[in-house]
Symmetry: C2
């Protein structure tokens, strides 16, 4: 049982975590923190948090669990501010989509990554954002990846694991770099492609008609292009090298496919489509 959970950044992820833990009776008190007081008042009104403080140092005081759920770009500044105000038994974790940059930001803030900081990433979300979109079931049967470092405290790790398990999530551990590679492939690159495709169409001269004739497949394919632009900008900046590596791999493959279409190379086209369908069908059964 968490005594006092302080969430910095009460949006879709932070809000859903609070709701899930309350529903599971796994937390006594949830304290919200953020820059926008009206936003925190809405979170109060929604019953997501029990109280709030716009001052980070006061918000973390007394907390045995602190979740950093604000944008990754603010990590260094936030950690620098809260470090000296954490309780002795406090465990800190985050929900950032890239882990290398988070670890580096914490290192920049306090010299070395504290043993009681556990980098984490719930692979869950919708194209919506904000506390209004939060719901207790968001993490059920979803994976949460923790990327502990060699010197991460085993007890702190166990407490973060237990917190996510209480939300119904499936918790796994992988290395920081490996996390960033896998997420670049399965999340960051698809989002980039969806944004880029919709933007290409949106800047064509007959855009209205183009969207008019778009069918169901297009709707599914581009849903993730409705995601928060600022958040995805931050992810591009924070996981840049892994994203560029994946993008280059993909663009190279796409260029080869383009050549095959231009050259009427039916064997190559069919081979790519068949291999993809097989992989997709296999994956969707998991």
């Amino acid at each position: 049982m968490i005594r006092q959970l302080t969430i910095i950044g009460v949006g879709l992820i932070g809000g859903s975590l609070a709701r899930a833990l309350k529903q599971a009776r796994a937390v006594q008190e949830v304290v919200g923190c953020g820059r926008d007081e009206q936003h925190l008042q809405r979170a109060m009104a929604l019953g997501v948090i029990d109280r709030y403080d716009t001052d980070m140092t006061r918000a973390v005081a007394g907390a045995d669990m602190v979740v950093l759920a604000m944008p990754v770009g603010a990590m260094e500044a936030v950690y620098r501010q809260i470090a000296a105000h954490l309780a002795d038994d406090a465990v800190v974790t985050d929900v950032g989509s890239s882990k290398g940059s988070v670890v580096e930001a914490v290192r920049q803030a306090v010299g070395e990554v504290p043993a009681r900081f556990v980098p984490g990433h719930p692979i869950a979300g919708t194209e919506k954002s904000g506390v209004e979109a939060s719901f207790a079931e968001l993490f059920q049967q979803r994976r949460v990846i923790l990327t502990p470092l060699a010197h991460t405290d085993a007890g702190a790790l166990a407490r973060v694991r237990a917190m996510w398990q209480a939300t119904g999530a499936l918790v796994e551990e992988v290395g920081v770099k490996h996390h960033d590679e896998v997420l670049a492939a399965t999340s960051h690159l698809p989002h980039l492609l969806a944004f880029a495709l919709v933007d290409t169409l949106a800047t064509m001269h007959d855009k209205v008609e183009i969207f008019h004739f778009a069918a169901g497949g297009f709707r599914d394919f581009t849903r993730i292009a409705s995601s928060d632009p600022q958040m995805w900008h931050d992810i591009c900046v924070n996981n840049r090298s892994e994203i560029l590596a994946m993008l280059d791999l993909f663009m190279n493959d796409l260029d080869r496919l383009r050549q095959a279409i231009a050259n009427n190379d039916s064997d190559y086209i069919l081979e790519v489509f068949q291999r993809a369908k097989q992989a997709r069908d296999q994956f969707s059964q998991v």
Copy 2:
């Protein structure tokens, strides 16, 4: 009311059309035709067709409506075979995803496109294929695009329009070339990207783990990569020039976005993502 509807190619589209027209009591008799007799027997057993003939010339005899729903690649050969056996009042239409190549195939088959042939394209489908996946509601509220030529018979066009309206579809008319451009943008390119992305991931060394960590957005984004590889190969071949034009436009935009990420050009990245989100949100409200 259609007296005898002959469908050549009783798959997802042909089968769903038969089901929808039967449900709407808009057809008296449905005759199926195809090369695979077992497949036609299944269509009989499912109640999708009333009788079948594996011989095309016999199957079209007496039909007042003939729907060509086999792969586009077979268009020329099929049209050449059936042309002399069509009844005087027969109207012929097709369901191909590219219209320029269909018109050209019919021209190659019979010298000039007959006035009673109405090129058509229902923008509907799922990632599944085959008559087993067919259902009567497939076309409800979906667009069906007809691309009549200058000399297309007005009565024939009206009958094809009425047929699709009976399935609950929204029927529109556009030019052949314009159809092919719009579909390259909204359907063919997204399918190519989904196939290419899944194939890139499937050929990476740690593919099992990559798919293991893939989340909901990825699932939606790649659903269309489960579509029929042969059909999409045919579309690539048949709408090649429009697809290559769209692909070049997109790859150019993607390359610019790649440069922006490499150069930390936040303004450009944000601009693309914001414009895309705005277009996607606007489109999804339509």
